[in-house]
Assembly symmetry: none
């Protein structure tokens, strides 16, 4: 899975666009300031140049930071399990384990082998799970569990 680091973020189109825009705006602002200074016969003193340089630098830095912290790539979408719904339904840990395997498309026999128990056990736990979810078939169980954010 390709993870993006800071350097990668810096080179992203959005970051480049932002940097270009910031630079353009600040250049325009500086030009406006120069124009104003010339109109009023006032010299730009070094302190102002200093302040402008600091402003530009930290504006760019802040912009990059805001982008890096906020930009969310689609593939890094994390799923947060709805433990509250699980608790209110009374779904046990073992039943949830069975649920994940059911959602994974495995048969009861496969789940039984994977968990090292009898297929009859899986059947019992699946039946109990279906009752708690109000599902008649395993596809219903998957759909309802997804609707409740029990599984991705």
């Amino acid at each position: 899975m390709p993870r993006r680091n800071s350097l990668g973020n810096l080179l992203q189109p959005a970051a480049l666009r932002f940097a270009a825009l910031t630079g353009l705006v600040l250049a325009l602002g500086a030009a406006a300031l120069s124009w104003v200074s010339l109109q009023h016969s006032v010299r730009l003193i070094p302190t102002e140049l200093y302040a402008i340089a600091i402003a530009i630098f930290f504006a760019v830095l802040g912009g990059w930071a805001g982008h890096s912290l906020t930009a969310r790539r689609p593939e890094t979408r994390v799923f947060s399990r709805n433990d509250a719904a699980m608790a209110s339904l009374g779904v046990t840990v073992r039943e949830y384990e069975v649920l994940t395997h059911i959602a994974g498309g495995r048969t009861n026999k496969e789940i039984a082998r994977k968990l090292g128990v009898s297929p009859n056990t899986i059947k019992s736990q699946a039946a109990s799970l279906f009752g708690k979810l109000g599902a008649a078939r395993r596809i219903d169980a998957i759909r309802k569990a997804r609707a409740l954010s029990l599984i991705p």
Copy 2:
């Protein structure tokens, strides 16, 4: 699907607002600085504190801008069917119809009644669909179809 390019981003309301606000703030800040410098020949605040204040202000401003420009709103998640994958797999229209009903959690008998055909027909079409998807069970078919963006 509306694709965003660089120009489109630059012309977005958020970007325009940011550009205008940045320019305005910079101009005002510069004006205030000039005014203060001219009014008091004596510096009221130490230069370092002054620079730090500017740095903080513009860092925050830049951070807000970066956030605004790149934050992904909980956007309208529209599903676009992958017709190319459907065509390459040779999935027929009828098979796709059966697929949607399978994904809807319906049994073959229910699908048959809904489509007004024999359950045997649904079985045949489902079997053909499974072959094309490389799925052994209907849950596998749903998973692979979702992976191929054939269904939401």
